[in-house]
Symmetry: C2
Subunit: 419 residues, 2 copies
């Protein structure tokens, strides 16, 4: 039998224990935030009928799909986000759900993009949405949850950029680019990623006669200065936010912001970290009142947000705010003698019962090897219980970080040092 | 634009909020058990190179694969379990891991089986493994973790059946079925699912001349009664377990047990719930010392266990041990007046800061509608703060389960009733 080279697909990643631990802790903290605002979790499949995900047309995302015929010749596709499946879900289960419907979900999504830093073909999405209401309050709540999320992760320096799709559409009309609104808005959205020269060039290519008007529009940083027939939604949002000073201080009007996906219909949001701009946007959201249009004539309005897990992890790494934990165990218990295994297991059980994560070395071997193992895995304490200790009725408790060692007479005393 | 019927693929499921909540709570409890024994989590992709999952031959699982060519013409496949990817992972990352390597993982796996109760095409697997040691102690630890898992889920009546593959192989030889060992062992494994008549018929068809010898073998319930040159591994396991009386009482020798997958090489385990036998096996495990053979000539021995999440949920449902919670919120705060939104948000923030999950109704609407919403979602408390209360400087706290209502003067007082 020949040997197969073990490898993952390009853009797909394995997480090592410390990376998986960091991701899990991060999601745990976010879940705590979402639940504190009353969001419930739901789950949808990773694989769906293609037509349920992309409708009849497909559009831009089409080329990036992991799409195939299954063994029953069904046209199926791995989900590329958690928002489109949500639209299917709420229409399908409308009568089983309570509206307004607030849900969160964390899970893998798949896109065949060119892999690059912080961008994977399988990536973790973490979303929260409010469906069934169209209110400035719910838009503001999504922003509140975004703010609370970054704060819960220990990030205090973040900016939430806000804008509104309707403002962009009416401005496109104002500069006579009504027929090229999609391309125009996409160009505005990538303004910060290209040079001013290139921006103006592309603007002219689109047929824009008044580049100065565009520059003036984009320079507006206070909504009051904006003349637009469509500013009410954003003004209402600012009105609610004005009463949340802790959130308001993170808010920034950015009239170039559009967000890539086409489904947004109203206010849109994007989160940036000024200390690590190279990471890109680490969260986003917006209102999508037509999302269920593929599935039902009765539209269910919605607004949602998303925390970019992979990018947040990269940002925390750069900010040196990630703990590298390779074992959940606080203490390793030695396994030295066949005749002592019963007692060793008893000790471990007693420590676990007090809430301590206690590991027993999984085979009988030399003490030195067991200490090396604890060291490598950053397990802080090592409890030695060998023939000598058994005879004396004691234990040796070693702090592997400080090197200190204590002789203790009862297992319970471990808690005095470790607790 | 025509309307698409919202639907999931056969064998794929959506989880409603109460179902997703139950699954999450279940996994949280298991994770706590795994970590208390020192297992670390890792993560591998949902999609892999097909050859990494099935080797060169494929074998039985082949027909059930979700396998396709991706956009780069790679032969790829959705993972069908978490054990084979683990083998790839430990060989690929050998130099980045500390051995003995103890990991757990919870995630979706995919098999194109005929959907039936408790069996889905996408299903949640929850595994824990110890790699790099071949010891009775580690086999016993996997059984300990299995036992602790069911106990943590509130299930006390469970049986862990144990057997050993080598005993089965040598018995096949003993009854001259050496050349049909695979078929013979598979027949033993399904013994409880078919009639005695059908069993003996299939036994004869395999060429077995001594059905009585098979019956006598299967009737053995105490390892001491078994004559087999290959009983040492199982005897050693029993030796360790004999020192764990809380675990031992759940153990049962079952010489018909083989476990479906071919990768087991030594001791095998399976968990059954006597109160709900119709659910089938709810957990399993075993030793697999050749698992990494496709990837490396240096074999890494391993032993692992798995908790069948979907089936355990069905069992807990039947045992009426599942809480149906549709909202994580303990309290809903009214949203009645535009002028009070700032205060309402302030109240919610204060309650959240005390650790309470507090939801604000996401738009301004009639009181009645807000109470109905809380009722439907089983949110226990409702805090009313309208124009009247604002003027008096009070709040009305209503217990929606008992119907009791209190007037309170400070938000902090909510904790006296809710805490």
């Amino acid at each position: 039998m020949s040997i197969i080279k073990p490898k993952t697909l390009a853009g797909f990643q394995d997480l090592l224990p410390h990376e998986a631990w960091q991701q899990r802790k991060l999601i745990d903290k976010l879940v705590e935030v979402f639940e504190s605002f009353g969001f419930s979790t739901i789950q949808t499949p990773h694989l769906e009928y293609t037509e349920c995900l992309i409708g009849e047309t497909g559009g831009e995302i089409g080329k990036q799909l992991f799409r195939f015929q299954d063994n029953g010749d069904r046209d199926v596709c791995l989900r590329f986000d958690l928002t489109v499946p949500l639209a299917r879900y709420v229409v399908q289960h409308k009568n089983e759900l309570t509206f307004p419907f607030k849900r969160y979900a964390a899970g893998s999504c798949f896109r065949g993009e060119r892999p690059q830093q912080g961008r994977f073909r399988e990536f973790m999405q973490c979303d929260f949405d409010i469906l069934g209401v169209d209110s400035a309050f719910s838009d503001a709540e999504i922003i509140q949850v975004l703010a609370a999320s970054y704060q819960a992760l220990g990030i205090d320096n973040f900016i939430i950029k806000v804008n509104n799709r309707k403002i962009l559409n009416s401005f496109a009309k104002q500069v006579n680019l009504e027929n090229k609104a999609v391309e125009f808005i996409r160009l505005l959205d990538k303004k910060d990623k290209i040079t001013a020269e290139k921006f103006n060039q592309e603007l002219s290519e689109l047929g824009c006669k008044d580049c100065q008007a565009v520059a003036d529009f984009l320079a507006i940083s206070n909504l009051k200065e904006l003349k637009s027939e469509n500013k009410k939604e954003l003004a209402d949002l600012f009105d609610v936010l004005s009463k949340l000073p802790d959130v308001l201080k993170h808010i920034q009007l950015d009239l170039s912001l559009a967000r890539g996906f086409g489904y947004y219909t109203g206010n849109v949001f994007e989160v940036a970290l000024p200390e690590v701009p190279e990471v890109g946007s680490v969260g986003s959201g917006g209102r999508y009142n037509n999302l269920t249009q593929n599935f039902s004539k009765d539209l269910i309005p919605g607004v949602g947000g998303s925390v970019g897990i992979s990018r947040v992890l990269i940002a925390l790494q750069k900010l040196k705010q990630l703990e590298a934990k390779t074992s959940p165990a606080t203490i390793l218990i030695s396994n030295l003698e066949d005749s002592l295994q019963a007692e060793v297991n008893q000790i471990a059980s007693e420590l676990r019962a007090t809430g301590l994560n206690a590991e027993v070395y999984p085979e009988i071997t030399k003490l030195k090897k067991q200490i090396q193992y604890a060291d490598k895995k950053n397990i802080k304490y090592f409890l030695i219980f060998g023939a000598e200790e058994a005879e004396k009725g004691t234990f040796q408790l070693k702090n592997l970080q400080s090197g200190e060692q204590q002789e203790i007479s009862e297992v319970q005393r471990v808690m005095d040092y470790v607790g």
